[in-house]
Symmetry: C2
Subunit: 326 residues, 2 copies
């Protein structure tokens, strides 16, 4: 199996590559499980630190058609398209967001169409496609009404992928990801960055700002669960996707207050006390427009899964990234 | 008022221009009703037969950025964007459909964004954005699941227009039009072309083929109603569009059998007898994926209206285009 991962140097991309290497096989277009012989890890920044002969790191601009031609050829069996500009950044820089989040996806799909090979394609979409008046729990039939350019771009990708799949240009699957928590490392320019920050920073002995009200309800998934679901998304036979190529994933529905309570129970009052509430209207507006709960009936019928509870999610993070408080 | 109409030589475009000329005024961005001083009628084929000093016919390729620059400038107050490749044609020629139905819309919106003038923008969308499992009557919150490239392209336009409007680049309104019946003239390559054909051809003494089953339910609107709604769509103040820029219009919900009954009651057995049932699976698949009824609550709250009944619609056609049976 010859695989392309875009956004390979990002948090999910890197973890996905590691998981694929460990797994060693993927199912091909004919439904046969085959060894992974090559993973092209593409990103705008260098992918380093993965030392495996099967991985080839490629660096470049994903919106450059010439770059894309070199990335995908007739031998490419599967594409995991994760590259994106995050939500707050796409809101601040409209042109950059359109170019990376939408035009690059369109160009990648066009490259695949030109080749005529119909590879499997797994893509991350987002709950940011929803907005406006929403029920307490969102059904799969809920209309999309993005309140951000990021959500708009992701919804346009979903529509394109569904049509390219219907026409047989690609065998696509778009997974509407919950907010991934807890991410390691530094805060980023996603509007949801705080959701990892309020767990990660206090555990590492640092203060953290929560920019949204305590009763804000979020839809979350751990990194490990996200990777498992991405791989399941690839492995499902196309014939099972009878309700369409865009899948609202299951997740954990939890308020910020409940997240902080879980942190307190796991790590104590002192750690939980490092969170300071400080409203940021720009972030609050975007985050408040996202649904806090989904039925995810279709995804569950396909075998996609959610984390058990948020204490597990915190435990997973502590085990993988032991707190560094000095 | 300085107005651009794209698709001006098409059936709706021409009628819209005539209606605007007769009306003589439109509301500007500041909410003031002003005389219409100029209408640029743009199309790929020449707009002829409208003899009015206020109308300037321009012919060209709408997907050519240089053409667009000449079409829209800082004096453009309002844009009616009607140009499109119809559904069956967009299904048969994927590249043409993407170029005209989506890329040209994106390029027009980019031109408007570059100018920074935030003109009013009225666009025709379609019930073809819906598909898959649908309730008997579609609510405004129904998810989009296009089963054609045409529907996909229209849904992507809707998303783009909503985001450009939210960001203040344009003051957009996208009207999800029912199937417009009865169109005069020749059949076209819309999957819905038969819906006019089974009324128009028999009235003109010609045989007509109905390619879908008699119990197929359609969502219809007369040309006169469509033009009234397009102008209302322009005149509504942006502040009233609190549920978004994409509006499912009201219509008539009627089966093909009921359409033929109405034709029989209006024009007699001999005329209705000129319709022959002959299944066309490609058309049937596309038409069957469209909803046959909507609540259209949001549109009704904004003052959009439907035709009274189908006999009225036939009567309107006969009055405007007296049957020519020899």
């Amino acid at each position: 199996m010859n695989i392309l991962v875009t956004g390979a140097a990002g948090f999910l991309g890197r973890r996905l590559i590691e998981a694929l290497l460990q797994r060693g096989t993927l199912t091909d277009r004919q439904g046969t499980e085959r060894p992974i012989s090559r993973i092209v890890g593409f990103d705008v920044v260098p992918l380093s630190g993965i030392d495996d002969g099967r991985v080839q790191a490629v660096c470049g601009d994903i919106a450059d058609p010439q770059v894309l031609e070199g990335l995908i050829d007739t031998r490419t069996d599967s594409i995991f398209h994760l590259a994106a500009v995050v939500s707050s950044q796409a809101e601040q820089d409209f042109e950059l967001g359109m170019r990376i989040n939408f035009s690059a996806t369109q160009a990648l799909l066009e490259r695949v169409r030109a080749l005529g090979t119909c590879p499997r394609w797994v893509m991350t979409s987002s709950v940011a496609v929803f907005g406006g008046r929403l029920p307490a729990q969102v059904e799969d039939g809920q209309v999309w009404a993005p309140q951000s350019s990021y959500g708009t771009q992701k919804a346009m990708n979903d529509l394109l992928l569904a049509d390219y799949s219907r026409r047989g240009f690609v065998d696509g699957r778009s997974l509407r990801m919950p907010t991934i928590v807890v991410r390691p490392g530094k805060p980023n320019r996603a509007a949801s960055s705080f959701a990892s920050g309020i767990i990660r920073e206090p555990l590492n002995g640092q203060d953290s700002v929560c920019p949204v009200p305590l009763d804000t309800r979020l839809w979350l998934m751990s990194p490990m669960q996200a990777i498992n679901n991405l791989i399941l998304g690839h492995e499902l036979p196309g014939a099972r996707l009878n309700e369409g190529r865009v899948i609202n994933l299951p997740g954990l529905s939890i308020t910020v207050a409940e997240m902080i309570d879980a942190l307190r129970r796991t790590a104590g009052d002192e750690v939980a006390g490092r969170i300071r509430l400080e409203s940021d209207p720009a972030i609050e507006r975007i985050v408040a427009s996202w649904p806090g709960s989904f039925t995810a009936r279709y995804a569950k019928s396909l075998g996609f899964t959610a984390d058990h509870d948020f204490a597990d999610v915190i435990g997973q993070f502590i085990a993988e990234y032991p707190p560094q408080t000095d």
